[in-house]
């Protein structure tokens, strides 16, 4: 078992109601899990709880059987670096090159002085170049990230996640700001990484068709609660009603 979520609960300090209520699910190695739900259903909060960017207010998260909630300092950083993350707004550093942005994925591994002086080791540079090659962007390596197209930006972000050598990649609506064609190609890339590099995926989406096409399993969320957990082919009208009501 890679990841286990046990009675997860999240209530923001000033919120009147809970954002996440009593979530229970498990993620096996190699799965492609899509979390499906409306915006505001709690999907973004959920993925951020998984790598503890947000500290959940209740419940337990287990990573390979070990409880992670109370990890701090080095343990927390090591946990985070084993999980890649991609975002709706890509979250690249606009004024730095595509290559440097990919090298950010190595920050959890390299000694501080290297990161401080941007003096990266040959092996880290090699890894970053390989990752850019994997996402098909070798030719824009030295371009500034803010000059790339949306699709290219998300590919750089995926390369950044790849150099972390992650076991899991989390995605928070990674294709929501892309056009349909680019969305498909980014999802295809994630799918092939899932199959070939055996990296588990937990991806938030709001589009049912894409979810059914790419997922090996779908978790439906509505108002902070799980309303469906099963195979894509079992997502029928009744299920959709529950997710999108």
């Amino acid at each position: 078992m890679l990841l286990e979520v046990d009675h997860l609960h999240m209530k923001y300090r000033k919120a009147l109601t809970s954002t996440l209520e009593n979530l229970n699910f498990k993620v096996e190695e190699g799965e492609f899990v899509v979390i499906l739900g409306l915006s505001g259903a709690g999907k973004s909060t959920l993925v951020r709880c998984l790598n503890l960017l947000i500290k959940p207010t209740g419940g337990v998260i287990r990573w390979q059987g070990r409880e992670v909630n109370k990890w701090r300092g080095k343990a927390l950083k090591n946990y985070r670096r084993s999980i890649g993350m991609i975002f709706q707004s890509f979250n690249l550093i606009g004024r730095l090159s595509a290559l440097t942005n990919v090298l950010v994925g190595r920050l959890g591994y390299m000694p501080g002085w290297r990161a401080f002086f941007h003096w990266y080791s040959a092996s880290d540079l090699e890894l970053a170049k390989e990752a850019l090659d994997r996402v098909g962007l070798t030719h824009v390596m030295h371009q500034r990230a803010d000059q790339l197209s949306g699709g290219q930006k998300q590919r750089v972000a995926i390369a950044r996640a790849l150099v972390q050598k992650p076991m899991l990649i989390l995605g928070d609506e990674p294709i929501a700001s892309l056009d349909p064609l680019t969305s498909r190609s980014v999802m295809d890339l994630l799918k092939s990484i899932n199959k070939e590099e055996h990296i588990t995926m937990v991806i938030n989406l709001h589009d049912v068709e894409l979810a059914k096409h790419y997922a090996t399993r779908i978790i439906g969320i509505s108002k902070g609660k799980i309303v469906f957990d099963g195979l894509p082919q079992d997502v029928d009208l009744a299920v959709l009603e529950r997710i999108y009501s």
């Binding site: 960017l53 985070r80 004024r95 920050l107 501080g112 972000a157």
Partner: protein, 251 residues
């Protein structure tokens, strides 16, 4: 805002302006004597005394050096302090409030007061002027930069955090690259202001062309003053060009 309060706001503004005009003895009819200034300029200032041109240029270089040293020292200290004075990077509320208070204190004391206070311990000359400009600008730049830090896009910071990097690198990668152009822009603006400040500090013995101007003015040496004013104009324009050039290049 409703119409009533808009109307009363207009009346209030008018009252404040009239009050200020009254307090400053504002009187357009006095411009009828403008001729006096022109005659003064013509008779006493012209022609400029070019024999002081070389010393004036040398003094202008010192004025520029005072501004450069002062603002450089300021940004060196202000940059780290500004991260302590920004709520999103400050380690604790106490540090945050303490640093902001310190920056406010530095900013609220004018350079000329700092200069006067420093003369007894540092003596006359450019050095106390440098320190006076540095202290005042630590306050100004610290506040400006801390506001840039607070307004920085959170996306890249979140991404750097998610790869397992520590706080320092969330700042160095997630925040700093975003705000560097604005920091430089503010820095060059403060350098321009620093040149003007170092002119004024010259009046209290801070050296440079301000000092020269003040002395020649005191001994009614207006033809030398004319040359010095022209050199000052040249200096201010040159610094302005430099600032514009660098700002365009960086962004």
């Amino acid at each position: 805002m409703n119409k009533l309060s808009k109307g009363s706001l207009t009346i209030l503004s008018a009252i404040i302006i009239i009050w200020s005009a009254y307090g400053t003895e504002f009187d357009l009819s006095k411009f009828l004597d403008l001729n006096n200034s022109l005659l003064f300029l013509q008779k006493k200032w012209l022609p400029p005394d070019w024999t002081v041109l070389v010393p004036a240029l040398k003094a202008a270089v010192i004025t520029l050096q005072i501004a450069i040293m002062g603002t450089f020292l300021a940004i060196l200290v202000a940059l780290p302090l500004s991260f302590l004075a920004a709520y999103n990077t400050s380690p604790s509320l106490v540090v945050y409030n303490g640093t902001r208070w310190l920056l406010n204190l530095f900013r609220s004391v004018p350079e000329i007061v700092l200069g006067l206070l420093l003369v007894p311990s540092l003596g006359l000359g450019p050095f106390p002027a440098v320190i006076a400009i540095a202290i005042h600008n630590i306050g100004v730049l610290g506040k400006l930069i801390s506001e840039l830090i607070e307004a920085a896009d959170e996306g890249p910071q979140e991404a750097v955090q998610s790869v397992g990097a520590n706080r320092l690198f969330v700042i160095l990668y997630g925040i700093l690259p975003q705000i560097v152009p604005n920091i430089l822009s503010n820095y060059f603006y403060r350098l321009e202001v620093g040149v003007r400040a170092s002119l004024i500090l010259g009046f209290i013995g801070g050296g440079g062309i301000g000092n020269m101007l003040f002395i020649d003015f005191k001994i009614f040496n207006y033809q030398s003053v004319a040359t010095e004013v022209l050199v000052i104009m040249l200096l201010v324009i040159a610094v302005d060009y430099l600032g514009t050039f660098v700002r365009k290049r960086v962004i």
